[in-house]
C-alpha cells in the first residue's frame, strides 16, 4: 500500500487524490481491525451472557435446548454494535496523516501537504508506506474459547442431570380427558354453554395451580370436577331413558290404534286418540326435536280425537325418530365414558315397543275401559308387561310376610382402608427423579414404603413394594415428562 507523493503540488491534482486514497485506505484498514476486535469483544460478552442465561434457564426452568437458539439473535446485534462503535473510535484522517508523516520521517511535509500547497517540495517527498497494524489476540481468544465452552455446557446438559421443579405436577392427561368429556356434554346440550365454559375455566385453573408440593389439593379438585361432570351425565342419561320410555309408550299406543281403528267404537277410539295426544305432548315437552316434528295440525287432530290413519303413522314415525335421537345421545355419553354402558341397555329396554300385545288387549276387551285406565295411569306402569320393584301402581297394597327378627343381629365390624385423599395428605416427599425406576431384586429393600429407599436423583425404587392401588399413580408420575 505504497504511494508516491512526488507530484503533489499546484499542478498535481491526481497525486493529491492518491494521498487521500492512501489515507482513506489506511483509515479503512484500521477501521476493519477495530471492527473485528470490537466484534469479538462484544461477541465474547454476548456469549458469556447467553451461556449464563442458558444454563440458568436449563437448570432453573428446564428450558428446551431449542429455546436457547434464540440467543443467535444477539450475534447480528453484536456485529452491528461493533461496526457502529468502531466507526466512532477509528482515528480521523488528520490523525492518520500525522501517523504516516511520523512513520515516513517526513518532518511535517506530509502534514503541510495535507494543509496547503507545498510547491516544489511535492516532488521531493519520498514514498510512504503505511505502518503495520498489530493486534494481540491471545487473551481475547482464550476468553472466547472459554465462553464457547461455557455455552456448549448450557446446550449439552443432559436432562437427567437437571433438577426437577418440585412445584410442577403433571396433570395434563387428566385435564385432557375431562376437557373431552366437557366437550361431549356441551355438544349434546347436556350442559348449557355457559356452565360448560365455566367448568372448562375451572379445569384450566386447576391445571395452572397444580403444585407437586400439594398434590392432594389438585387431585381433590379434579375428583370434584369429575364427579360433577359424571353427575350431569348421569342425570342426562336418566332423562334420555325417561323420554325414550314416554315416546315408546306413545308409539305403542299409536301403533295399536292404527291396527284397531276399524274395530273400536268411535267413542273409545276418540278417547284413546286424545290420550295418545296427551302422551305425545308430554314427550314433546322435554324433547325439542319431537316438538318440532309434530305439526300444529297433528296436535289439533289429537286434541279432537279424530286422527286419520295417515296422521297416526306420521306420529308414530316422529316418536320412533325421537327414540333414535335419544339412543344416539346416550351412545355418545357411553363412548365418552361418562355413562355406564348398562344405561344404554336400559334405554333399549325402555324403548321396546310391544304394540301388537297392546292391540290384542285393546281388541279383546269389550269396552277397553280397563286398558284405557291402565294407559292413563300416572306413569303408565299399568300397561301389560310393565312394572318392577321400584315401579308400580301407587295404590297397590303392600304385602308383608316372613318378617325378620332383629335381635342378636349386629353389623360386622370392618376396618376401612384410608381414603385416597387422606393418604395423599399424609404423604411426604423424599425425592424426585427424572429417570425410569430401576427394579431391584426382592429382599434388598426397606420395608418403609414404596419409595422409602429411593434416593433423590438416583432413579432407584423397590419394584415389589409398589402396591397395585398405587401402580397407576406411580406410572402416571413417571410418564409425565414424556407428554
Amino acid at each position: 500500500m505504497g504511494i508516491s507523493l512526488a507530484a503533489i503540488g499546484p499542478d498535481s491534482g491526481e497525486a493529491a487524490v492518491d494521498l487521500q486514497e492512501t489515507v482513506g485506505r489506511f483509515h479503512a484498514h484500521l477501521r476493519r481491525v477495530l471492527t473485528i476486535r470490537l466484534g469479538l469483544r462484544f461477541l465474547l460478552v454476548w456469549l458469556m451472557l447467553w451461556a449464563a442465561a442458558g444454563v440458568l434457564a436449563r437448570v432453573a426452568f428446564r428450558a428446551e435446548q431449542s429455546l436457547l437458539l434464540w440467543g443467535l439473535v444477539g450475534l447480528p446485534l453484536a456485529g452491528a454494535a461493533a461496526v457502529f462503535v468502531a466507526g466512532r473510535k477509528t482515528p480521523s484522517a488528520s490523525v492518520l496523516r500525522a501517523v504516516l508523516d511520523r512513520h515516513g520521517r517526513l518532518g511535517g511535509l506530509l502534514l503541510a501537504a495535507g494543509e496547503g500547497d507545498v510547491g516544489q517540495w511535492g516532488r521531493q517527498i519520498p514514498l510512504v508506506t503505511p505502518p503495520t497494524v498489530r493486534w494481540r489476540l491471545g487473551r481475547q481468544a482464550i476468553l472466547l474459547l472459554a465462553a464457547l465452552a461455557f455455552l456448549a455446557v448450557g446446550f449439552l446438559i443432559p436432562d437427567r442431570y437437571l433438577p426437577l421443579r418440585p412445584e410442577a405436577l403433571e396433570i395434563g392427561r387428566e385435564v385432557q380427558q375431562l376437557s373431552e368429556k366437557l366437550a361431549v356434554l356441551k355438544q349434546e346440550e347436556v350442559l348449557p354453554p355457559e356452565k360448560a365454559e365455566a367448568l372448562q375455566q375451572d379445569l384450566e385453573r386447576i391445571r395452572q395451580g397444580a403444585l407437586g408440593s400439594d398434590p392432594a389439593k389438585t387431585m381433590e379438585a379434579i375428583d370434584h370436577l369429575e364427579r360433577s361432570i359424571a353427575q350431569s351425565a348421569a342425570e342426562a342419561a336418566e332423562a334420555a331413558i325417561q323420554q325414550t320410555e314416554k315416546a315408546a309408550r306413545a308409539e305403542e299406543l299409536a301403533d295399536a290404534l292404527q291396527r284397531l281403528q276399524e274395530k273400536m267404537d268411535a267413542k273409545q277410539l276418540g278417547e284413546a286418540m286424545k290420550e295418545l295426544g296427551r302422551l305425545a305432548e308430554e314427550a314433546a315437552a322435554e324433547n325439542r326435536a319431537l316438538a318440532d316434528a309434530i305439526s300444529e295440525e297433528l296436535k289439533e287432530a289429537c286434541n279432537r280425537g279424530d286422527l286419520t290413519a295417515e296422521q297416526l303413522r306420521e306420529l308414530s314415525e316422529a316418536l320412533a325418530e325421537c327414540k333414535g335421537l335419544q339412543y344416539q345421545k346416550l351412545d355418545k355419553l357411553v363412548k365418552a365414558r361418562l355413562v355406564d354402558p348398562a344405561e344404554l341397555e336400559r334405554l333399549e329396554r325402555a324403548g321396546e315397543c310391544d304394540g301388537e300385545t297392546l292391540a290384542l288387549a285393546l281388541g279383546d276387551c269389550e269396552d277397553g275401559q280397563a286398558l284405557l285406565a291402565a294407559i292413563q295411569s300416572p306413569d303408565g306402569d299399568g300397561l301389560p308387561g310393565r312394572g318392577g320393584v321400584s315401579r308400580g301402581r301407587g295404590d297397590a297394597a303392600m304385602t308383608w310376610s316372613q318378617g325378620a327378627n332383629k335381635e342378636d343381629v349386629h353389623f360386622q365390624e370392618k376396618v376401612l382402608p384410608p381414603g385416597a385423599v387422606a393418604s395423599l395428605k399424609a404423604s411426604r416427599m423424599t425425592g424426585v427423579s427424572a429417570g425410569d425406576p430401576t427394579a431391584e431384586k426382592p429382599g434388598g429393600g426397606s420395608t418403609g414404603g414404596a419409595l422409602g429407599t429411593a434416593t433423590a436423583g438416583s432413579g432407584a425404587a423397590q419394584g415389589q413394594l409398589i402396591l397395585p392401588e398405587h401402580e397407576k399413580a406411580v406410572r402416571r408420575y413417571f410418564e409425565r415428562g414424556k407428554k
Partner: protein, 346 residues
C-alpha cells in the same frame, strides 16, 4: 506557501557554516552547538549549566565572533550590583563647566551578553536582567532605553549545589528559552584538545557570518511552517506537564508541583522551527519537537520534595512525557498497536 528548496538551501548553507565553525572551535560538542544555534535563531536566551572549565564561555565567545555580533561578558559575583549591569547615571561636567547627570550604559547594551556564573550574584542583581530579557529594554530613573537588536543573554551557571550560589527565581528561569547542560567530554576529545591546542586556546573563526547572513537566517525562520498536528503535540506536551492533566504521566503526578507555562509552549514551537531549519526542512516535524522539548521544559518544571528524595530530575520527567504521549494523538486500544519507525522511541 512553504519556503522553497532553493531558498531553504541558502539558509541551510549559512547554518551549516556556523555550525562547522563552532564545531571547529569547540571540539566534541556538536549537539550542544546545534542547540545553542537553534536558541539564537529562535531569538531566545540560553542558560548553560556546567562545572567550571568545560567551555561555556569559549562557546559563547565563539558564537559572538561567528555571528559578528557585539559581545560583552559580565562575571557575576555576590557583590555585583544591578547598576553594574544595566548602567547608571553619573554626574559630569560639561565643556561649559555645567554639571549634568549623564547615563553611562552598562554591559547589557550589547547583542550578546555573557552572564558568567549568573547564580553567584544576589537575587537583586539577577532580577535586574528581567526587563532586559523580556522587553529588550532597560528602564532607569523613568527613562526606558531599548537594547540593540538582536539581543541575547547567554548565561552560565554552576550547579546549584556548589558553595556561594543563589538559585535563579522561577520567573527568571522561565525567560530562558533553553537550559543546556554542558557535561564532560570523552577521552578522545580531550586528547584532541591537548594535542591540537596550545594552552587550550581555540582557533579563531575564519569565515564569520555577515549581518546580512544573520538577517537572512532570521527571515528564513519566519517562513518555517508549523503544521497543526505538530502544534497540537506541543500543546499536549506542555499541558501534560501539569499534575492532574488527563495525559499526565505517573512521574508528573508524583514529582511535579507546577508544570510548564504557556511561554514554554511558545518557546518550544520557536525552537522546533529553528531545529527544523538546522535540519534543512521547510516544516516542523514531530522529531524537531522531541529534540528541543527537554531543553525547553527541564528548567520550567517545579519539582516537589519527593523528587529530591527519589533523585528524580526534570529531564527524567520530560522524558517520561515524551515516551508516553503519542505524537499524532493516536488513541488505540492497548492490544492494537501501530508499528513505529525504527529508531523512533516507543
Amino acid at each position: 506557501m512553504l519556503m522553497q528548496p532553493d531558498e531553504l538551501r541558502a539558509a541551510t548553507a549559512l547554518t551549516d557554516r556556523a555550525l562547522t565553525q563552532l564545531d571547529r572551535v569547540l571540539l566534541g560538542r556538536n549537539h550542544l552547538h546545534r542547540m545553542v544555534l537553534a536558541g539564537i535563531l529562535s531569538r531566545g536566551h540560553i542558560l548553560l549549566e556546567g562545572l567550571p572549565g568545560v567551555g561555556k564561555t569559549a562557546l559563547i565567545k565563539a558564537l559572538g565572533q561567528i555571528m559578528r555580533l557585539e559581545f560583552r561578558r559580565v562575571q557575576f559575583t555576590p557583590d555585583l550590583m544591578p547598576s553594574d549591569i544595566l548602567g547608571t547615571h553619573i554626574l559630569r561636567e560639561t565643556a561649559g563647566g555645567a554639571r549634568e547627570m549623564t547615563f553611562q550604559s552598562g554591559p547589557v547594551f550589547t547583542n550578546i551578553l555573557l552572564a558568567d556564573e549568573i547564580n553567584r550574584a544576589s537575587p537583586k542583581t539577577q532580577s535586574a536582567l528581567l526587563e532586559a530579557m523580556q522587553e529588550h529594554a532597560v528602564t532607569l530613573l523613568g527613562n526606558t532605553r531599548p537594547l540593540p537588536q538582536p539581543f541575547f543573554v547567554l548565561a552560565s551557571q554552576n550547579p546549584i549545589e556548589l558553595e556561594g550560589t543563589y538559585p535563579l527565581p522561577e520567573a527568571q528561569l522561565d525567560r530562558f528559552l533553553f537550559k543546556l547542560s554542558v557535561g564532560d567530554v570523552p577521552v578522545d576529545v580531550l586528547e584532541d584538545i591537548i594535542s591540537t591546542r596550545r594552552r587550550g586556546e581555540p582557533p579563531q573563526p575564519d569565515v564569520p557570518l555577515s549581518p546580512d547572513d544573520v538577517a537572512h537566517l532570521f527571515a528564513a525562520m519566519e517562513r518555517m511552517y508549523l503544521p497543526r498536528a505538530v502544534s497540537r503535540y506541543i500543546a499536549r506536551l506542555v499541558a501534560a506537564s501539569h499534575p492532574g492533566n488527563a495525559e499526565a504521566t505517573t512521574q508528573v503526578s508524583t514529582y511535579v508541583t507546577y508544570g510548564a507555562s504557556p511561554r514554554a509552549a511558545i518557546a518550544m514551537a520557536e525552537a522546533a522551527r529553528a531545529y527544523a531549519l538546522l535540519s534543512g526542512r521547510p516544516s516542523v516535524g514531530f522529531e524537531d519537537v522531541r529534540a528541543v522539548a527537554a531543553a525547553v521544559m527541564n528548567h520550567r518544571l517545579i519539582l516537589n520534595y519527593k523528587a529530591r528524595f527519589d533523585q528524580v530530575g526534570a529531564l527524567a520527567v520530560v522524558q517520561s512525557l515524551l515516551d508516553a504521549l503519542d505524537e499524532a494523538g493516536l488513541e488505540l486500544p492497548p492490544d492494537v498497536q501501530i508499528e513505529k519507525t525504527k529508531g523512533t522511541p516507543a
